[in-house]
C-alpha cells in the first residue's frame, strides 16, 4: 500500500530504536548520491564531514541523548547558503572554490540539532533562473525523468530521437535541492525562494516546498538575490517534515535585523478532520495565460475537494497580480545590481589577470565571473537606479509592490483563510524544449504564479498533487496569512492526505532497496 507520511514513527523512530544508525543512514545516502550523480543535483558532496557528523550523532544515540528529531538526519543545502569549510559557489565562476569562514544561521541551526550535512545542491547561477539549467556546473535533471511513471507514459516522438533528450528539468532555482529530496538522497533540503525558487522546483519534482513568511527565518549567510524578498525555503517529502524543519529554523536572529522579534513556538500539525470552518479563496487572476488545461482541471478538482468536505470556497480577485512580473523585474534587477557590486575580485572569489588598472581588473573579473543572465540583470538594475530613472522605475515598482501586497491584505480581511492556486503553469518541460527560450522570458513565464505573494512576503507551500498525463508531478500552492504557517500547513497536510500523491519509482533506488530505503521511501522522518 501507500507508505504512511508525516509520522514520527518513521526514520526518526528507527534511529531512536536503533534499527538503523546515523552512520548507516548517511552511508546509504552517500551511496545514493553517487548512483544518481547523473542528476547533477549536488555541486559538492561533503562526504568526510557528513560521516563525522553522523558518527557524532551515533554517539549521542548510543548514550541515549539524541539532540532531537533531526539528530542524525541527512540533509542537503542549496549552494547559495554559506557553509564553513565546505565550498559555497552559487554555481558561478565568481565563487568557484570559495570556502566561507562561517555558517549561515539556518545551516548552523540544523547542525546544532544534529542534522548531517551531505552537501551543497545545484542551482541557477546566483539563483537567477527558473530551470536550474543556468549554473556553471550544468543543468539539474529531474529524477522523475528516470521514473517508471514517466517512462511508461512518455512516448518518444521518433525512434531516432535519443532517449537522452527526453529528460525534463527540475524547475528552479532550487532544482538541486528538489531533485535531492525527490531522489531520496536526503530527507530534507534547504532552498531559497525569491520569486518561486523553492515552490517551482518542488512542484516539478513532486516534493513539498515551503516558503515561510518573510522575516520568520534568518537570511544571514544566504547569498542574496533580492534582500527584500529572499526567504530560505524548505523542501521535504511531507508537510509534517516541513513543519519540523520550520520549527528548527524559525525565530529571531540578532544577525538579521529583518527577522521578527517575536518568539516562535515550534508546532506539530494536527490532523484536521473538519474543514467546514475554512474559507478557501480561489484567485481568478491565477488562471493565467499559458496555464495548462490539465493543471486547470486539477486546480478545480482540488477546489471541489474542499467544497465537498464542507469548506467555503470563494472566488477572489487580486487585480494587481498581473503587474507582479514587471514590478519584480525592476526591484529584483536593482537589488541584484547592488548586491553583486561586492564581487570585484579583491577580497574573495575570482580575480582576473588584467593588470592595466584597477578598473580593468574589476571589469574583466566581473565579465569572467558572471554569466550572461547575471550580467544582464546587473545592467538593467543599474539602469533603473540611475538618477534620472529612479522615480520612473524603482519608486514606481515599489508602489506597485504595495498595491499587490494590499490586494492580499484585502482578500484575507474579507474572511478568506487560505488561497489555493496552481504552483506552475504546466508540468516540467524537457530540457531541450526549455532552453529554446532565454532565461528572462522563461523566468517571466514560470514565476507568474509565485511572485505576487512574494511581493507581500506571505507564506506559501507547494503540495504535490497528482501526476500529469506524461507521468510528471504537478503541485498546487496554498498561500496563507503572514506568520500563520501553522494554519497554512495544517490545511496543506489535510490536502496532502486527500490526494495521496504517488511515490516516485526510481530504477536506481530499487536496486538499493532495503529496510532503510523503505524508511526513506516512506518519505517522512518525522
Amino acid at each position: 500500500g501507500c507508505p504512511k507520511r508525516g509520522l514520527r514513527s518513521q526514520v526518526s523512530a528507527a534511529l531512536k530504536e536503533g534499527r538503523v544508525t546515523p552512520t548507516e543512514l548517511c552511508q546509504r545516502c552517500l551511496a545514493l548520491i553517487r548512483s544518481t550523480k547523473f542528476l547533477n543535483a549536488y555541486i559538492t558532496v561533503a562526504e568526510e564531514t557528513a560521516l563525522k557528523q553522523a558518527e557524532e550523532a551515533e554517539e549521542r544515540y548510543k548514550r541515549g541523548q539524541p539532540l532531537g528529531i533531526l539528530d542524525g538526519i541527512p540533509i542537503a543545502v542549496k549552494d547559495n547558503f554559506n557553509t564553513a569549510g565546505i565550498e559555497t559557489t552559487c554555481a558561478s565562476n565568481m565563487l568557484k572554490g570559495y570556502i566561507s569562514p562561517y555558517n549561515a544561521t539556518v545551516v548552523q541551526k540544523l547542525l546544532d540539532q544534529g542534522a548531517v550535512l551531505l552537501g551543497k545542491t545545484n542551482l541557477d547561477e546566483f539563483a537567477m533562473g527558473s530551470g536550474s539549467t543556468d549554473g556553471v556546473f550544468g543543468p539539474v535533471r529531474n529524477p522523475w525523468s528516470y521514473s517508471r511513471q514517466y517512462k511508461e507514459k512518455s512516448v518518444p516522438k521518433s525512434h531516432s530521437e535519443d532517449k537522452e533528450f527526453n529528460w525534463v528539468i527540475t524547475g528552479g532555482s532550487s532544482g538541486g535541492s528538489a531533485a535531492a529530496v525527490s531522489s531520496f538522497t536526503c530527507f530534507a533540503a534547504l532552498g531559497s525562494d525569491t520569486g518561486g525558487s523553492t515552490r517551482n522546483p518542488a512542484a516539478h519534482c513532486g516534493v513539498v516546498g515551503l516558503k515561510p513568511t518573510y522575516g520568520l527565518i534568518s537570511r544571514h549567510g544566504l547569498i542574496p538575490l533580492v534582500n527584500s524578498m529572499d526567504v530560505p525555503g524548505i523542501l521535504t517529502r511531507s508537510v509534517d517534515d516541513a513543519a519540523v524543519l520550520l520549527g528548527s529554523l524559525a525565530g529571531h536572529d540578532p544577525k538579521d535585523s529583518t527577522t521578527v522579534q517575536d518568539n516562535f513556538k515550534p508546532f506539530e500539525l494536527p490532523n484536521l478532520t473538519d474543514v467546514s470552518k475554512l474559507s478557501i479563496g480561489i484567485p481568478k487572476e491565477y488562471n493565467a495565460p499559458g496555464l495548462s488545461s490539465e493543471i486547470l482541471a486539477l486546480w478545480s478538482k482540488a477546489a471541489d475537494l474542499f467544497k465537498n468536505a464542507g469548506a467555503k470556497v470563494v472566488e477572489v480577485s487580486l487585480p494587481h497580480t498581473r503587474y507582479s512580473i514587471v514590478c519584480y523585474h525592476v526591484l529584483c534587477t536593482a537589488e541584484v545590481a547592488s548586491n553583486m557590486a561586492r564581487f570585484d575580485g579583491l577580497e574573495y572569489g575570482h580575480r582576473s589577470d588584467a593588470k592595466e588598472s584597477t578598473e580593468s581588473m574589476y571589469a574583466t573579473t566581473r565579465r569572467e565571473g558572471f554569466n550572461d543572465v547575471v550580467r544582464g540583470r546587473i545592467l538593467s538594475g543599474n539602469y533603473f537606479l540611475l538618477k534620472q530613472n529612479y522615480e520612473k522605475y524603482f519608486v514606481k515598482a515599489q508602489k506597485v509592490r504595495r498595491l499587490i501586497a494590499n490586494d492580499f491584505v484585502k482578500v484575507f480581511r474579507s474572511g478568506v483563510d487560505i488561497l489555493l492556486t496552481p504552483t506552475t503553469l504546466s508540468d516540467a518541460a524537457p530540457y531541450m524544449e526549455f532552453i529554446q527560450e532565454d532565461n528572462r522570458t522563461r523566468s517571466a513565464q514560470d514565476d507568474i504564479l509565485t511572485q505576487a505573494d512574494t511581493c507581500a512576503g506571505l507564506p506559501a507551500v507547494n503540495v504535490p498533487t497528482a501526476l500529469s498525463e506524461r507521468g510528471l508531478p504537478v503541485g498546487l500552492q496554498f498561500i496563507g496569512r503572514s506568520f500563520q504557517e501553522k494554519q497554512l500547513l495544517t490545511v496543506a497536510k489535510w490536502f496532502e492526505k486527500q490526494v495521496q500523491f504517488p511515490v516516485i519509482q526510481l530504477e536506481e533506488v530499487k536496486r538499493h532497496d532495503n529496510d532503510v530505503f523503505h524508511h526513506q521511501k516512506s518519505a517522512s522522518f518525522s
Binding site: 569562514p101 561586492r342 577580497e347 584597477t358 574589476y362 537606479l385
Partner: protein, 513 residues
Amino acid sequence: MAARGCGGVWRRARQRGVAGPGSGPDPSPRGQRAVACNTRGGAVPAGKSGLAPWVPVVGLEIHAQISSNSKLFSGSQVQFAAPPNSLVSFFDASLPGTLPVLNRRCVEAAVMTGLALKCSINKKSLFDRKHYFYADLPAGYQITQQRVPIAVNGSLSYSLCIDSKMSQMVTKIVRIKQIQLEQDSGKSLHDDTRSQTLVDLNRAGVGLMEVVMEPDMCCGEEAAAAVRELQLILQTLGSSQAVMAEGQLRVDANVSVHRPGEPYGVRTEVKNINSLRFLAKAVDYEIRRQIEELENGGTILNETRAFDSKLGCTVPMRDKEGKQDYRFMPEPNLPPLILYDAKSLPANMNHQQVINIDWIHERLPDLPSVKREKLVEQYGILPEHSFTLLNEDGLAEFFESVVKQTQMEPKKVIGWILNDLLSYLKQYSLTVKESPVSSFLLADLLNLLEKKEISSTAAKQVLAELWKGEGKTPLEIVKEQKLELLQDQKELEQICQAVIDEQENEVIMMVPG
C-alpha cells in the same frame, strides 16, 4: 598670518564695492556676515574690475568618527593605528551573505550630537546604499542616510575674534542642514613604484556622523571657528574624539563666490584638510583663486580639489573628475530606524531595545557655550578668557581647581593660567594633563604670592623651578633659593647695611657721583 593675507583679496574687493555708488547694502544675511568678516580691516587696494564686490560662500561637510567600541554595523573593534586588517569582521570585508546590524551606541551618539546642535531628531530615519567602485569600499556601496537622516535643521553658534589682539569677539550662527549616520571606508595605500594598491579595512565600517553645515560662512577663519566649536561640542558629548590629526574629524569645504544679489557661483569642493589651520588656509586660498580666476575672465569648474598643505594651495583631484551617479537605493537589510520620546514610548517595550530621545536630552552635559557663560559669571573673567580655557582640553577644570585651593582672586589666577602655565605647556607641547605642575602646586604657589610671602618675580622663578618636576613644594623652593619677601623692617635694614659694608669702595665712589 598667511590666512589673513589670502583674505585680503576679497575683502578689498568687497569694501571698495560697498563704498562705491549704486551698490546698496546686501539685504541677505550673508551680506551682513560678509561685512562682519570685514571688520578686521586693513589696507584695501582697488581690484581690477569696477564691478560690485565678491561675496564668498562657504559651506562645510564634516565627517566625525563616532567614539564607539565597535563599528556602525558590525562587532569589530574600533581602534586608531592598529595593525592593518586586524579589525575586520566578515561583514566589514563584505563576505557574501553577511548583513548589517545597527550599533545602538552609534545611534545614541548621533542623537546626542543632533540635540546639542539644536536639530530636530527624526523619529523615523532610513538607510540607503550609495554605490561606487573603490578598492577600500568592499561592498561596492556605502550605507548612508540619503533620504531621511537621523537629525535635521539645527544650528551652531560659534565665536571668533575680529581683531588681531584677540580682545573683541563676535558670535555667529551657522545652520546645520542635517546629521546622517554612515559607514567609513577603508584606506588605500598606493605603491606607485610597484604599481599596486594596498588596502587596509580596519576603518571600513566605522560609524561616522556626517554633519552638513549650510553655506553660511564667508571666510576661512569663520569655517575654522565653526569647526572648532563643533569639535568642542563633540568632545564634550563624547560622541566623537574629533581629533583631526587622527582623521576622526574630516572637513570638506564647499566654496563659491558671486556678486551681491546674483545667484551663487559655481562651487568647488576642497578635500584633504587635516587641521583647523589648514582649513582656514584652504578656504581662503580657494576664495582668492576663484576671484582671481573670475576677474581674469575665467570660469570656475564644479570640481573636487585637494588642499596641498606644503604648497598652501588647492589643486584639482584627478580621480573624481567624471560625474558619478551613485545609484542610491534603500538598504533592504535594515528596517527603518525608529526612535521614541517619552510620549511615544510603548509601555511594553524592552528598554534595551529602544532609544528614548528625551532620556538622552535630560542627560546631555553642559555644552561649551554654557560652560563659558558659567565661567564668566562665576569667576568674573573675560569672555575671551573663557574661550581659551575651553579650547585647551582640561584647562578649565585646572583653572577651577586652582581657584578652589587658593585665596587669590580668580581674575588674577586666570593670568597665571593663561600667560604662564599655558605658555609653558605650548613651549613643551604638553597637554594640561601632562603638566608637571599640578593645580595643587600652582595653588600653593599663588597662595604664597597672595600672602605676599614672595614677589611676583620670585613666583615666576618658583614656577620655573616647579616646571622641572623634581617633586619640591613651592615653599621648599622659596626657602632653598631664599626668595622670601622680607616683612621685618629691621632685618631689611641689616641686610642693606651688610651689602653696603661689603661694597664700601663702590659706595664711596657712588656718593660723590
